[in-house]
Symmetry: C3
Subunit: 420 residues, 3 copies
């Protein structure tokens, strides 16, 4: 029965279009997980590919399940306590039918849509960390870290702003999560990369190259595609003016990020650097995420361009400090996440730069402390880093017993042929 | 002219949103064909990749064309005969304009949308078989098989339930096709794998590994993405409550499938097995497909988890019986298709387990007989299996004259340089 | 606030669904750029992959930015001069809020949506050229060419038809751009391939094979997926009858293109040729693009089938003439673009074949002249072709200093191990 038995109203028709758009946006954010998996495995060495794919597939699944079990109710508790710093409305998701009607979110989406859109966001925060610790982190320890980070840290921070907590009350503006999602992942990426230390040989004779750049390019372009759902869905309705502005801003920032990072590497390093151009797209996307709803496309161009410059600078600085981040997660998600959030305070007259700074700083301190405690506790117990032998041979053979590019097994005549 | 010349009503607005959602769901199901192609080529040996890609691209095309020519009218004949066991409303698709208005499906979609959504489903049933017979099936024979299976067998079974036949009258519940699509493909996969026998050397010294696991991961995540259209579109409208519940259930089952199959392989085989985790996602997806519209997310978690256990068990059993299924199509699509269908009878009070069992069994017998007759007839005439030499060298070079990863042709100074 | 404060009308609900569909179609056209990048890099040699990815990522970005700066206002100037041959409404995109309401396009989409949908189209025209000149074109020169072609040539031609210029007044019919997009790219591809000359060794001992056919297959299937947005979005609303007919026609033409090109290569060359089957899909898609709105699915089958024949013939003819087109861009986009445009005149009684021919010819002359002038000017100044050494070694190492499939750097005990 596609239509209500009674004559539908235009409000009901709008409910249907809003909700289906939010679900489609959810599917697009889902596809970002394929993007992250492809980017991370393409940007790293072939010997660790199975490990990375297993890790990212697991994080997605852990993210969805823990968000159902505890995250959603930590992030959107209804009522919060302790001055808007904490709230929790119980374990598990509701099956109360009242969340399915037009009254749940003023005709924008159902309870189920709300949950699954937010769950896909939650899973991205943990995935961001994954790239920075790749090729040397112990799988079991990282999965425990991810579980805690996505189940507790991310939803708590999310509640402060999107869940109606103290940060929402402060006038802080972070439309789709330059800070709430990307820097939350980025801070833990920084902490993780420092705690683990660099990969063996990372600073010996030039950068370790990615083993499959087409795979990395697939990853980045799928991330860009998915970002239209990430930012466009953050309008929380299909409002034509709002969504179309967000989409234009998102496109402009990404395109400028590519050009500036690509040209920048060409000018400063003498060669057009594909990895930098790819990360330039992501830098622009992270940069515009905080203000895509309130800025003009011209501001998006400026923000995306500065994001492109920032990742070149940050990448160089991290290299000099020997903070080894195989995929560039820290420049992209942390540096541009912070920049994008501050940029709203700079380019939008309604938003206070001081408030933006305050929000960035408080969340930074919380995430650094939270991730450092978890990483250090795991390091002291399970151990965060694989053995030297495992790292040299590769995690695929050592942890998984299989390579990513096997299958060329030689079948010769000596093999007893199966009876047909 | 975007709007009707007369003042549109809310029913018309709903017609537009329903129809566009059904088309978008169609596009997502289309993308599942890329998912199947990537999964199957990634999970097999490099020497058969061109063959697999050619096969899957052809099946998609054959599926769309035969469904237009005969399948749609076999599956949705309007009236059926022989007690709801058979019907046919003629060759080709209609170009009658009456299918384009709001009256065609009560404002849910047009005739064209109906056809193309169903056509994409049809093509998936044949593609499922492809994975189980990979690396040793003769291309021409398999394309003849696919043509017959997708043109006749699949639509006949589909008619019994979705086309208003005897199974629909029995109270059988299969929302989006755990049985009607996945087990229909899965039974033929089982028959095909048995008729062909195992690959040369399949049980000699460990499993033959896939040659490109990132490609397999791309495949699985695109399949998961496409499944949101497969299950979400099976609501047959954009009804917010119905579609959003289906999407949440689909997500929960897939995520649990990943975790249980991944952890299960870790515990039982000592190593976290990426292939198993990937197939765990598909297992959960197939498992929830029959009941995603009527079950709770908690039931979806249980169904997805059991699906994860079942593929580990089924994979072991098939190995012991030397039924060689290179991609795990039989555990995923047949075993979890049956399980998902029965699970609706277990978890939903409105659905009879006995009726579910009866439907599964009758369709199983029909598909086994149908596919066995076609496979055996082709084996006796064209031959189903390639020669030993072709299999050893690889189908790419032998049947297609080209490798999948060529292109590194050495160009040296001896080559006469073309005039510029 | 998802809903208007006042009671929304059904017209407003339709505005929301139309606009969100146009944005989703935009995202799908965006994904075609990933399709082009994957197809082009998969169909060429491994040593030029980084170069191709950098090139395609840059073209996408340049296309979006130049379209904002100048292209959109060249293509849709409002008023045109010189008898509908030229118009320009100023640099940059408007931020006037009047473009965001229901009055902008009769409730079909906002100004921002209009811009970004058209911008994605613009970027495809330049990308088409990229494949034909791959593996030997100088990166910097090609980026300058692309910038000029996408910023000036494409929008001028687009204005003639879609911008309300002289061609629109003539009764020319090109629904989604067989001529306006595909042949505009295709003519420049032809000119570029001739100006550059063939790759070193291109006609020495068999065709140069693509290095990664799974990547090419990913590319083609993503292009097919994106084409549903390209053609479906060209309805410029979510009109159920119109969009669903377009989607069915698009599917039928693509599927027939695959079958005819695949079977044709099998019959004529003795081997089922995957590259030909893949290009058959694109051939059918380009062929149906001009008339998908006015033709029947049976006509789509005929057009797609003839497209499949045409690329085999055109590919052979180009080979004999030593016009080296590594990915088959000229057969697909130029030959089938012309054929598809003429086919509307043949199959649709309302469209004049003579007018179609005239439009094809005038645009052909303009694009050949335009692209030849730019290519020749660049060849005389920057140089269009890389040196022989660069071509032999590969553009990746020579121009970018990195290979696409590195990353297997050997890390041995001699390397000073970083302190953990």
């Amino acid at each position: 029965m596609p239509l209500d038995p009674v004559e539908p109203t235009a409000i009901e028709a709008m409910f249907w279009v809003n909700n289906i758009w939010m679900l489609i946006a959810t599917f697009m954010v889902f596809l970002m997980h394929l993007g992250f998996a492809a980017l991370e495995s393409g940007m790293t060495q072939a010997k660790n590919t199975v490990n990375i794919l297993f890790k990212n597939l697991s994080i997605l699944s852990i993210g969805l399940l823990t968000y159902a079990f505890v995250g959603f109710n930590l992030m959107y508790p209804g009522e919060s306590f302790a001055g808007g710093w904490f709230g929790f409305s119980g374990f598990g998701i509701s099956t109360d039918a009242s969340g399915l009607g037009i009254s749940y979110a003023d005709g924008a989406y159902t309870y189920w849509t709300d949950f699954i859109f937010q769950a896909m966001f939650a899973a991205t925060a943990a995935t961001i960390v994954s790239g920075a610790v790749a090729e040397r982190v112990r799988l079991s320890s990282f999965l425990v870290f991810s579980t805690l980070y996505v189940a507790v840290i991310y939803p708590m921070v999310g509640m402060w702003h999107w869940g109606g907590g103290w940060l929402a009350a402060s006038g802080f503006h972070d439309f789709a999560g330059s800070t709430i999602v990307h820097s939350v992942g980025g801070w833990a990426a920084l902490v993780g990369a420092i705690v683990l230390g660099p990969r063996l040989g990372a600073y010996y004779g030039g950068r370790i190259q990615g083993h499959n750049l087409p795979l990395a390019a697939i990853g980045v372009l799928l991330l860009w595609f998915g970002w239209y759902g990430f930012n466009g869905g953050s309008v929380l309705s299909a409002d034509p003016a709002a969504v179309s502005l967000v989409v234009v801003n998102t496109s402009m920032a990404a395109a400028t990020g590519v050009m500036i990072a690509g040209l920048g590497s060409w000018i400063f390093a003498g060669k057009p650097d594909l990895s930098m151009a790819l990360n330039g797209a992501l830098a622009g996307l992270v940069g515009i995420t905080a203000g895509a709803d309130v800025l003009t496309p011209m501001a998006a161009v400026v923000i995306g361009g500065i994001s492109g410059v920032l990742i070149i600078a940050a990448d160089g600085a991290l290299s000099r400090m020997h903070v080894d981040d195989p995929v560039g997660a820290i420049p992209v998600h942390l540096v541009c996440g912070v920049w994008g959030t501050l940029a709203v305070g700079i380019f939008s007259p309604q938003v206070s730069l001081a408030t933006q700074l305050m929000g960035v700083a408080v969340i930074g301190v919380f995430c650094v402390l939270g991730s450092a405690i978890i990483f250090k506790a795991l390091d002291a117990t399970l151990g965060m880093r694989v053995s030297e032998e495992e790292e040299l041979v590769g995690l695929d053979i050592e942890e998984h017993g299989v390579g990513a590019y096997g299958g060329m097994r030689l079948v010769t005549e000596e093999i007893p042929v199966a009876a047909k």
